[in-house]
């Protein structure tokens, strides 16, 4: 069995991986950049080594430095986490060459899935549905019209040589077809000197639904059902849940089978995720495959009852999958909210800084995967995600209620966070109804940006607390008032006022 794992990552995912390693009695090696000496994964690891400067290219992305540390420390495997080198075929290859176990698929699977065109082709061959459309550019008008009819409306016409929306036309009705084709082609010709176009099925209200898969080196593969990830802001997932509220048992079985086929088509090894775009009628199309652990993997763990990191480790070790498809079931409902150090009131700008105080939600059905602690200074160099709040409920309704309760309990000060924003997401009737798609946040923007109010008394209580605190400090430090240094504070005071008024 693998005895020592180097975790080539930081933040919550490094902690997540090390926790499972510890349960399996596998020793862990952490690496850290200049910016991460005080990071929790350095404290939690059995061993920790400095790897380079704060910039990722000199540390968490530096393949050779990481491999050297793995060998130096006697690690027999490397877990890349997500992000950084997790989908880097070269890294997977270099590990192979150096006799280190890369906890993930081989370079070929990463490469195939990493290239959109190759992935699409491979999936088509494997019988996995891809978004209907033309593989080659078309010039002839009648062929274009015929193709559109074959694909079925609505479709998107895109200029082959295109970009920036030029030569792009959305076609919803029969009558629009010919005029749209003509104007698209003419605009394309004018813009790019080339009037050939692609045709692609247009998904009106797309859902992002993904399937977790596991495959061992013996070729045994299973799926662990779906995750609904349609609550997105600027293509970034904000909330994920499983099961998907729009899923049916029949479609689940079909999609699951396709996800397994997608993995088998590239001789996948380890944990991966097959992402589908799905329309309101549950027609689904392969989008891409993430050849690594996902941020949102914990909701699957909770509902299916499998530790995915442990499965990654035993698979990497060459062992058989611990479960068969028939043994896998979903129980209850899980939701994840991603907590970011960002200021929703200021267009979600990042909010790095020092954590003053944290109160984590506790009790039945609550899991927090985080890495910040009181007094920790979140570096400016990396991702602003500070934790993932995962709840489980026996029903979707209970899960939402529990998520609301947990967000209510979750207090982080020192930096701004998205907690309040997420509370508002949980309160939307459309979210409760479960029939949302990726337009959810855009459509509810105004409600989500509305200030909440805890009533007039709150303001009075804030005044009272400030008064009591100020008088308390006055008593503790008599005479701190009456001197010239106060002038400095005055300037800062205005500095702050300035910032406020700009808001």
């Amino acid at each position: 069995m693998i005895e020592k794992v180097l975790v080539a990552n930081r933040g919550e995912i490094a902690m997540r991986i090390m926790r499972s390693c510890r349960e399996m009695d596998i020793r862990t090696v952490g690496i850290y950049s200049d910016a991460d000496r005080t990071a929790l994964h350095v404290r939690y690891a059995d061993e920790a080594y400095h790897i380079g400067k704060a910039h990722s290219s000199d540390s968490y992305l530096h393949i050779e430095k990481i491999i050297a540390k793995a060998k130096e420390s006697g690690a027999d495997a490397i877990h890349p986490g997500y992000g950084f080198l997790s989908e880097n075929a070269t890294f997977s290859k270099r590990c192979q060459e150096e006799g280190l176990i890369f906890i993930g698929p081989d370079p070929m699977a990463i490469e195939t899935m990493g290239d959109k065109i190759t992935a699409r082709k491979t999936m088509k061959e494997a019988g996995v549905p891809v978004v209907p459309g033309t593989a080659e550019p078309i010039k002839d008008e009648s062929t274009v019209v015929e193709t559109i009819h074959n694909i079925g409306l609505p479709v998107m016409i895109k200029a082959s040589a295109g970009g920036g929306g030029k030569g792009m036309r959305l076609v919803k009705t029969e009558e629009e077809i010919l005029p749209a084709v003509r104007s698209a082609k003419s605009e394309a010709r004018e813009s790019f000197g080339d009037d050939s176009v692609y045709i692609e099925k247009y998904i009106t209200s797309p859902h992002h639904i993904e399937f977790q898969i596991l495959e061992d080196k013996q070729g045994n593969a299973v799926h662990l059902f779906e995750r609904e990830c349609s609550v997105q802001r600027r293509h970034q997932k904000v909330v994920e849940e499983t099961p998907s509220p729009v899923m049916t048992p029949e479609v689940r079985e079909k999609m699951g089978r396709d996800a397994v086929n997608a993995a088998k088509a590239v001789n996948y090894c380890g944990a991966g995720t097959v992402e589908f775009v799905t329309d309101d009628n549950l027609n689904y199309y392969f989008l891409e495959m993430n050849t690594r652990l996902q941020v949102e993997h914990p909701i699957t763990e909770r509902v299916v009852g499998i530790d995915l990191v442990k499965e990654q480790l035993t698979i990497a070790d060459g062992q058989d999958l611990s479960v068969t498809q028939e043994e896998l079931t979903q129980k209850g409902h899980a939701i994840e909210c991603r907590i970011y150090a960002e200021d929703p009131d200021e267009n979600f700008r990042p909010s790095p800084g020092k954590i003053k105080h944290i109160t984590e939600p506790m009790g039945l059905g609550v899991r927090v995967d985080g890495y910040v602690y009181e007094g920790y200074e979140i570096p400016i160099h990396y991702d602003p995600m500070i934790s993932k709040l995962v709840v489980w409920g026996s029903t979707r309704k209970e899960a939402i209620e529990r998520m609301r309760r947990s967000l209510y309990e979750y207090k982080i000060t020192g930096v701004k966070t998205s907690i309040g924003f997420l509370e508002k997401v949980m309160k939307q009737a459309e979210f409760a109804a479960g029939n949302y798609n990726t337009n959810f946040i855009t459509r509810h923007w105004d409600e989500l940006m509305e200030a909440e109010d805890c009533g007039g008394d709150c303001e009075q209580m804030a005044i009272i607390a400030a008064l009591v605190d100020f008088e308390k400090k006055q008593k503790e430090t008599p005479g701190s008032q009456s001197n010239g240094k106060a002038k400095a504070s005055y300037w800062k005071y205005f500095g702050r006022q300035k910032n406020l008024t700009r808001i």
């Binding site: 990042p350 160099h381 991702d383 400030a466 100020f470 008088e471 008032q481």
Partner: protein, 168 residues
């Protein structure tokens, strides 16, 4: 001791009328509040008022007289306006041009300074670009200005609210 406390846009007159242990009678703008106030953690106050349980967390911002006060849903900027501050405010009046000191509200790294001292910049021109957590923010002038002083260099790691560029 009667004090003025600024909360958001509101200026409140506040006075602790009496106090017995954690039980206090506090007058805010003429209305009396009979409250039980206890600091339970550093900067965290539990207040019971009419039976209701409130939690207020205070974070000192620039000095001991300025707070961010977090209640259940709201976050307030609270300033204690005592005699000293009042005096200073009256002396300085409102004659500071707030837009001449360009700063970033959050810490980060200076990615680019597309101007030099002496440059004339137009309203909306960026004078400094700061990156934090993989996101870049441009800071622009709101009116036509001249760059008077540049206090940082490209590549510098900066604090939040630190003056970066001075224009006039």
């Amino acid at each position: 001791m009667a004090l003025e406390i600024q909360i958001g846009d509101r200026l409140a007159n506040v006075e602790k009328v009496s106090e017995e242990g954690s039980q206090m009678l506090i007058n805010i703008d003429g209305k009396e509040y009979n409250v039980n106030v206890v600091m339970v953690e550093e900067g965290v106050y539990s207040i019971l008022y009419n039976g209701k349980s409130f939690n207020v967390e205070l974070v000192n911002t620039d000095d001991t007289k300025s707070y961010t006060a977090n209640t259940l849903y709201n976050s307030y900027e609270v300033d204690i306006i005592d005699a000293e501050r009042k005096y200073l405010m009256s002396r300085r009046g409102g004659d500071i041009d707030e837009e001449t000191y360009i700063s970033s509200p959050m810490p980060g790294k200076v990615v680019k300074i597309p101007v030099n001292v002496g440059d004339e910049v137009k309203a909306g021109d960026p004078v400094i670009i700061v990156s934090a957590m993989k996101m870049e923010s441009e800071y622009k002038v709101k009116k036509d200005r001249v760059v008077k002083e540049i206090l940082v260099n490209e590549g510098d790691v900066i604090e939040g609210n630190q003056t970066l560029v001075v224009v006039e």
